[in-house]
């Protein structure tokens, strides 16, 4: 589809050229890619499979902490470091930092995959609202557990190692990481849903009992889908922790009332259950968020909450859904123009 190729070209060019043309906005554009990743991975189990999780942010936070713990403990005693509340200011050589970071990101992803499988045992027997509430509970529980763990700084958090690069390259470095992760996530999802996996996921969404009755091993698909989401969320959490320079459980690692719900809002806005819906939704949402920030300040989150409600109540099909209903042929949907009356031969 040429429309899609245009989108890829446009986003690709913007992704590569953006931070060069607008260096002051590098971190904002990096945030955009983070939002795209969050919305797209949420949609794997959410819009495509019908398992709407309110707790995917769990993996974001756990990934963040795993990476930080590895980065620091490779060269220092973690408990001492956190107890000093930033008095210990380690200086990492370039190789020390980057080895720690790479290992940290990989570990974050892997640990989150394992965590998703474990948590799946506790929540995949729940349907609909119960699954949403259960995953929300898990996220809150994880946040509270981390708050009590003094080795990782408890409520006070961890001060992150400083990136040993000239300051003008700092933002760009993290930008590249965010962009690459978002691209990797997108194409992983694109591939997954071009195979039988996509059909199985949609079958589970449309009628899980029927899928079970037809022999589809639904648990396996649910586990795999959530594991992929957990992996990328863990990785991006690790990167974000380093970007922000300081991590703590309430507002940075497990931001439930903000990013935790934004990923759902973005997928819904763009159109859940589609490949491009979450991407478009993330872009639209991020633009609105960034432009209203300067004008609304404290009222920003109230406005975003209202946007979420209005979206849910009045615009459920999202942008993609709306486009599909206006121009179905462009999306390969075939509409039966004849009347649907049962004739002699079906």
């Amino acid at each position: 589809m040429t429309n899609e190729k245009i989108l890829y070209l446009g986003l690709g060019i913007f992704g590569i050229v953006g931070p060069i043309l607008f260096p002051d906005y590098t971190l904002q554009i990096a945030m955009l890619w983070i939002m795209v990743l969050m919305a797209s991975t949420w949609d794997i189990t959410g819009g495509q499979m019908g398992y709407n999780s309110l707790g995917n942010i769990t993996f974001f936070g756990v990934g963040m902490y795993v990476c930080a713990a590895i980065q620091v403990s490779m060269f220092y005693d973690l408990a001492e470091y956190t107890a000093s509340y930033g008095a210990i200011k380690p200086v990492f050589t370039e190789s020390e930092y980057f080895i720690g970071l790479i290992l940290g990101i990989v570990a974050a992803g892997v640990v989150c995959v394992g965590l998703s499988l474990l948590l799946g045992l506790a929540v995949f027997g729940l349907r609909g609202p119960y699954f949403a509430i259960g995953t929300l509970g898990v996220a809150v529980a994880m946040r509270e557990i981390v708050t009590t763990m003094d080795t990782v700084g408890g409520g006070a958090g961890i001060s992150m190692p400083f990136l040993p690069l000239p300051i003008e390259y700092r933002s760009l470095f993290f930008y590249v990481l965010c962009f690459l992760l978002a691209v990797a996530a997108h194409f992983t999802i694109r591939w997954m849903f071009s195979t039988q996996f996509g059909l199985a996921a949609n079958a589970i969404r449309d009628d899980e009992d029927k899928a079970e009755a037809m022999g589809i091993p639904t648990l396996r698909y649910k586990q795999f889908g959530w594991a992929v989401a957990a992996f990328y969320m863990g990785c991006i959490g690790a990167v974000f922790g380093n970007m922000s320079g300081y991590i703590e459980p309430q507002n940075i690692a497990f931001p439930l009332p903000t990013f935790g719900i934004f990923m759902v809002a973005m997928a819904l806005l763009g159109g859940k259950g589609t490949l491009w819906g979450p991407v478009i939704g993330a872009i639209a949402f991020h633009i609105v968020k960034e432009t209203t920030w300067t004008y609304l300040l404290d009222w920003q989150y109230i406005v975003l909450g209202l946007v979420l409600i209005v979206n849910i109540v009045y615009f459920q099909q999202g942008i993609m859904g709306w486009l599909k209903s206006m121009y179905p042929e462009k999306f390969g949907i075939v509409v039966d123009k004849s009347t649907n009356v049962s004739k002699g031969d079906a």
């Binding site: 309110l54 506790a122 729940l126 439930l256 009332p257 979420l308 849910i312 109540v313």
Partner: protein, 297 residues
């Protein structure tokens, strides 16, 4: 530990048991309200805790004017009832027929909105309202703030009033009829939309009263709402919808569990304890359902 177990233990147990009952009675109010709208309209209100906190802040506003918070109760009932009615008409009504995640998400969005609004208006500080009633001494060692006893009495009285209303009044009967079979109720001439609006508004009022009590016997903060909501869900999920004694019992159990967790593991574990109960209840329900080869819907 020795002293804890052998000297202070009996006294502490009595203290904790009482605390559990006092806070449990407030949980029970919120849980009853949730069970009400869940049973009648199949709405799972994630903003339930935020309604409670909102009621608490109404009491706070009254308190700022120099009036004793207990006198806020009638004001809060009326205010929250109207608020609930408006929320129903603007939001709930339009998502009630859609799939269940949509209605849940709508209430979650409402929850976030309320949290941010309360934060903006009242600030993020934790507040507790001083009732200035002093304490009551039970024997020589157990101190019970008088306000907690008053709160228990008010909670019980209010709950009784609501239950009597549900049993005796025309609207109460209409609500119960609609809960059993909405279509049949409509055929018999009951305006189900009105019933739904009333039920949701009633729930908001119940939460409001619970909030006033919470503000005095515990504490309120704009972001406490979601934990309260999760607690309420745990209670209703464990007890089951039609089971009023079960709801009350489970509320007390949760109250006790939190108190003991706070003492045995530390205050920072109190919130985690209630969320663990929720997860535990959900896991237990799944195990139960699996025996019948079902899932938890």
């Amino acid at each position: 530990m020795f002293e804890l177990l052998f000297v202070s233990a009996p006294i502490m147990n009595v203290q904790l048991l009482l605390e559990g009952i006092f806070i449990g009675s407030v949980f029970a109010l919120s849980a009853y309200g949730l069970a009400l709208i869940w049973g009648v309209m199949n709405v799972k209100n994630l903003a339930q805790g935020d309604f409670v906190i909102m009621g608490g802040y109404c009491a706070f506003a009254v308190y700022q004017l120099g009036i004793h918070p207990l006198f806020a109760i009638p004001v809060v009932i009326v205010f929250m009832f109207c608020f609930g009615w408006i929320v129903y008409k603007l939001i709930i009504k339009r998502v009630i027929d859609h799939d269940m995640f949509v209605s849940l998400l709508a209430t979650f969005g409402l929850s976030l909105l309320l949290q941010q609004l309360l934060n903006l208006v009242f600030g993020p500080e934790v507040q507790t309202l001083d009732s200035q009633y002093g304490v009551f001494l039970l024997g020589d060692f157990v101190t019970v703030p008088k306000i907690k006893i008053i709160s228990l009495v008010i909670a019980a009285a209010f709950a009784t009033a609501v239950v009597i209303f549900m049993k005796r009044s025309r609207m109460g009967q209409a609500i119960r009829a609609t809960a059993q079979d909405a279509r049949a109720a409509r055929v018999l001439g009951i305006d189900t939309d009105q019933v739904y609006a009333f039920t949701f508004a009633l729930n908001a009022a119940i939460c409001g009263v619970a909030g006033v009590l919470v503000s005095m016997i515990w504490s309120i903060q704009p972001f406490y709402g979601i934990i309260f909501s999760l607690r309420t869900f745990a209670i209703v999920t464990a007890a089951g919808l039609g089971n009023l004694p079960g709801v009350i019992g489970m509320s007390f159990v949760l109250g006790w569990f939190e108190q003991y967790a706070g003492v045995l593991a530390g205050a920072e574990w109190q919130i985690a304890a209630s969320v663990f109960v929720l997860i535990g209840v959900l896991v237990w329900r799944q195990i139960q359902a699996r025996r019948h080869r079902q899932v938890v819907r």
